[in-house]
Every structure is written in structure tokens, then in C-alpha cells.
Symmetry: D2
Subunit: 139 residues, 4 copies
Amino acid sequence: MKAIVTATSQIKVQFYDLDPMNIVWHGNYARFFEIGRGALLDKIGYNYMAMKESGYAWPVIDMHIRYYRPLELRQTAEITAGITEWENRLKISYLISHMETGKKITSGHTVHVALDIQSQEMQWETPPVLREKLSPYLP
Amino acid sequence: MKAIVTATSQIKVQFYDLDPMNIVWHGNYARFFEIGRGALLDKIGYNYMAMKESGYAWPVIDMHIRYYRPLELRQTAEITAGITEWENRLKISYLISHMETGKKITSGHTVHVALDIQSQEMQWETPPVLREKLSPYLP
Amino acid sequence: MKAIVTATSQIKVQFYDLDPMNIVWHGNYARFFEIGRGALLDKIGYNYMAMKESGYAWPVIDMHIRYYRPLELRQTAEITAGITEWENRLKISYLISHMETGKKITSGHTVHVALDIQSQEMQWETPPVLREKLSPYLP
Amino acid sequence: MKAIVTATSQIKVQFYDLDPMNIVWHGNYARFFEIGRGALLDKIGYNYMAMKESGYAWPVIDMHIRYYRPLELRQTAEITAGITEWENRLKISYLISHMETGKKITSGHTVHVALDIQSQEMQWETPPVLREKLSPYLP
């Protein structure tokens, strides 16, 4: 992942994450990606509360998940989330791997665009606030 | 959607589907796709129980969702799910639109491969059972 | 259930509702209760949007669920939700049963109190707006 | 909570836990209870895998949740789960409180009965395996 900034989180698989195949239900990875994204946005100082204060929401317009290996009950997974695009839209990439073995479980991305909360208009260029938050990580 | 067979389902948005933006949380569309897929697999006579009896599981190996418009509380959405690939792997495509206006909300796909339950081996060609189930819909 | 007004909904069990025991995960009944409650509140003209307009939120302060029988994939369940207390607090009772056999699956209740959205104060008496909405059903 | 053994877990509230009121949706506490229960059952050496090996499942037959205060985004909560009955049925009690302030958020319990997996019969007395697992904690 060629990201300008990344953050790492861990999750332990719970019973409620599982499906009848005894593995994490595929749709639950959207939650796991969000755990990774939450840690990443906390790190750059631009989490959901800060977004709201800045006047923008950042809805997801695209999500892609690839599944390599299953996750089972009580296993621990490491989620790495990183910002891989930010100029016109915000792209966050994810890698989830087994804590113990390092083996890849899923990867994917979400794409977000800035929505001006007042006007409800999509912004086709990243608003200055994100650039400021990212400035410590830019070359 | 160029599908060999499709099925249509309806859902009414519930309070628990919503996020703090008052719209359906993006990850819940994995559930909505599954509602569509369930109806489609019922229609061709190859739902989860029939899959198990046939000796195969069909785990998701890829999921992609595009978001066009939000869905709000008490709105009704129509889910169309169709089989768009079946020879080497099973690809199901989805379109979710507003019931009343017909406007597009999300689209996407899931890709599934056959897993032999006994040997736990992935099948790189579609097993005959799926071909049989699809035969009424093939040219 | 000795309710002043009831509403009935139906749900079809989906794959994502299931746990590794191949039955609906016990926590999902909170969603099923909410489907029943949504239909009931629509019926009396006091759903979530109408609540907000009336200046009150109605958070859950108590929930109880009893489990009698499991629900399995593709089974259809009938949810009956009814208002069983309304003078000082709002109590909604639920009964979920198998559509085909009528057998009881779960029962339970939720208790809600009015919260004045402006002052964020709990109301220890039911606000007049609920009384009005219920007047057609009162003796 | 007068428990013979307890375990403590922590959770950080995620965006997907929230409802349109910007607080954790009431039904999600069933997941938080399960996180607490998972840690407790790990501690006594009788988690879901060990249960299966012992020939018993332990379905929930009753759940009760009381809500005192809301939980908000990025707050951390502490979950204490303890075994409060075990002779004829297994009762687990829960207390969730704010990490920083110690203030109570929710409390509740789940009741479980042993189900013989082979015969699918409910056991009206606790099977010896649970007694063994609990013996280090009994007077």
C-alpha cells in the first residue's frame, strides 16, 4: 500500500461476526474497514466530529473488498488503513491480515467525496481543511 | 445488467439501517445485496440449503459497491439481482433503486467460487450442479 | 397481549441473520422488534419523523426478550407489536411466531420515555402529543 | 454484581454503532454483552469451541437490558461480565460503564440452558462439564 499516512488497529473475532460457515460473514468487513478508518482519521485529527465542525461530510461513494482467507472465532486480525488518494477525492485503502501469521485475509478500499453540509453539494476538489490535516504527511 | 436470470426483492428502510447522517449506513448494502441474492438463488432452486446438499459452499471472493444516492427512513427500495457470469466462477450483479422514482441508489457485484465442502478445495470450474440449475435460463 | 393497538409485520430469515448454530442470532431480535415497532408507529401516525417534529425523542430504557424456539433460514416469522402502557411511559410488547405453524418464537417488550429534544430532559408523564395519537384507540 | 467469576473487556464506540440520535443504537448492546461473555468464557476455559467439544450448546433463553445513559462516538466503555447463576441454568450478568467516569451506561443479563447437541434435548440441570470449569471459583 503506497499511502501517505497509515494507522493500525486490531480486532478479535466475536461470535456475532460469524456466519453458518463458522467464518466471519463477508459483509462484516465493512465494519472492520471502518475500525481501521476511524483510527486513521483520529490520527490525522480529522475524525467524524472534526469533519462535521469543518462543514463537510465525507460519504462513501465506492467500496471494494477482496477476500483471500477466512477469519475464525477468537482469531485476532490486524487492520492497516492508509490514505492513498486525497487530491480530488479521498481514497482509503485497507489490508487485514492474521495477527499471528501475517497472512492476508482481505484487502480493499473506500472512496469518499466531500459534501458541503450547508449546501448539500458534492465538492469535486478536496477542501482546504483536508490538505491542512494531511500537511504533516505530505512531502 | 446483462444477466441470464434475475430476481427482484423489496426492502423498507428501518431505523436500525441508518447512521448519524440519517441515511442507510454504507455497509448495510451488503445485507441488501444478500436479500437480492437469496431471492435469486431461491428462484433457480439453488439456495444455501441446496448448495450444502450439493456438497459445495460458495464463499464471496470479491464485492464491489457503488453509491449514487442515499436511502432514507421508511423509503422502499427495489433490489434486482442477476447472474452475470457462471462458467468459471459465479458473478452476481445488483441494482438497488428507489421504488417510487426508479432512481438508482447503488449497484455492485459479488463474485463467488465453489468450495468442495469435503476436500475444502476451491473449484476453478463451475461444478455441474450449477450448470443444471441454470439450464432453464441458458440459450 | 392486552394492547390498545397492535400492528403486524412479516420477515423472512436471511443468511446474515444466522449464527454458527444455523439459527437467528439472539441479538437480531432487537432488529425484528424494531420492524414491528416501526409498523405500529406508522399506524398511529407517530413514527420517528413525527416524533422529531413533535419535539420528543423516545429512547429505549428497558428491553426484555424471551426465547422459546429458534428461527431458521428462509422461514417466515410474523411480528405483532402492541402498545401495552402509555400513561407515564411507553411500553411496547412484541410477539414473534412462525408464520406457517403459529408457534411462538420470542416475546418481549421495550420501554421508552419521552425526552424533550430542546431541553434534553426526560418527561415523567407522557406528553399530550402521544395521547392525541392514541385517542382513536382509547376507550 | 454478586458473581462467582468476572471478566472485564473494553470497547471503543465506532461510527457503525451509532443511530440517528448520535448514540449507540440500543440493540447493539447485545453485541457488547457478547464481547463481555466471550472474555468471561475464555477465562474459565469454556468458550464456544470448548462447549461444542463438550457436546453442549448454550442458547440464550432470556435477555434483559436496562439503559441508564447513552454512549457516544469514540468513547470507551468497560464491560464487566460475571456468572451469577450456574446450578440449573447459566446466568451471566453484565455491567457497562464509561471508562473515564465510571458512570453506569447499561446493565443486564442473559440466561442460557445447556442443549445436548446429539439429542437436541434441553438439560434442566447444569452438565458436569460446567461444574468442572467453575470449580476453581467455587467456595
